[in-house]
Symmetry: C2
Subunit: 139 residues, 2 copies
C-alpha cells in the first residue's frame, strides 16, 4: 500500500521533468539512424494528408521531443521564442479570466506543465517503440 | 557587460522559483504580526468595495503568497485542487488551439509559470514594504 506522501511525490513537477529527460535519453540511445523515421506518418495526425509536405512525420516528432528536452534541461525561457505571437494571443484570451487571481494562474500553469510533460514522455516512449518496429527488433 | 549566458540564466525557471521562495521567507521574517494586515485594502483590487467582505485584504494576500510558496517548495500538483473546475474550463478553451501542438503547449505553460512567479515575487516584496509602512519603519 502506498503512503499518502508517496502518492503525492508522484505528482512532483521535478520528477515529471526528470522522467521526460530519461525517456528522451533512452530514445536517443535507441534511435541510431533517425533518418529511418523520415516520411513515416505520425499517428497523432490522423486528419493529415501523408502526401502533404507540411504534415509532420516521425522524424519531425523526434526533433521536437529533443528540442523540448533541451529547453527542460536548461530551464530557459527564450525571449525571442518563434511562437511568442501565438502565446501572446492565448494570454490575451486568458487575461480577463485570470488577471485578478495570480494564484489561479500559477496553479493553472503548474498543472498544465505537469500534464504536457506527462503527455510528451508517453510520446517519446511511443516513438522509441515505433523505431524498434521499423528496424524489426522487439521492444 | 553581461555575457549572453548570464542573461539567459536570469530566465531560468528554477532561479525564478528560488527568488520567490526567498521573497516569501523575507516576508515571513518581517511580518511578525500578520493580523495588522487585516482590513487593509489591497491596491490590486481598485474596483473592489472595501466594505465588501469578499473583497481580499492584505491579510488574504499574505495567506495566498504563503500557500503558493508551499506548493512551489513541494512542487506538488494536487489532484483535488479546489480550483480544478476553473482550470477545466480554461483547458477547454485552449484545447482546439493547442491540442495538436504539444511543443507550443509546453512553451506556453513554461513561459506562463515564469511570468506569474515574477509577478508574485513583486507582490510579496510590495506586501513586505506595506507592512513596514504600517508599523512605521522605513523599509
Amino acid at each position: 500500500m502506498q503512503s499518502a506522501e508517496a502518492k503525492l511525490s508522484k505528482n512532483s513537477l521535478m520528477l515529471v521533468l526528470r522522467q521526460y529527460n530519461l525517456a528522451v535519453r533512452d530514445m536517443e540511445q535507441t534511435i541510431l539512424l533517425p533518418s529511418l523515421l523520415r516520411d513515416v506518418p505520425s499517428d497523432d495526425e490522423l486528419d493529415c494528408d501523408a502526401a502533404d509536405e507540411s504534415c509532420p512525420d516521425l522524424y519531425d516528432n523526434y526533433l521536437m521531443l529533443k528540442a523540448v528536452r533541451n529547453t527542460v534541461e536548461n530551464s530557459l525561457v527564450s525571449t525571442d521564442d518563434h511562437k511568442a505571437k501565438k502565446h501572446a494571443a492565448l494570454n490575451k484570451t486568458l487575461e480577463p479570466l485570470l488577471d485578478s487571481d495570480p494564484e489561479a494562474l500559477f496553479r493553472f500553469h503548474l498543472r498544465g506543465l505537469f500534464s504536457v510533460m506527462t503527455d510528451l514522455t508517453k510520446k517519446t516512449q511511443s516513438l522509441t517503440g515505433k523505431y524498434m518496429d521499423i528496424i524489426g527488433e522487439t521492444s
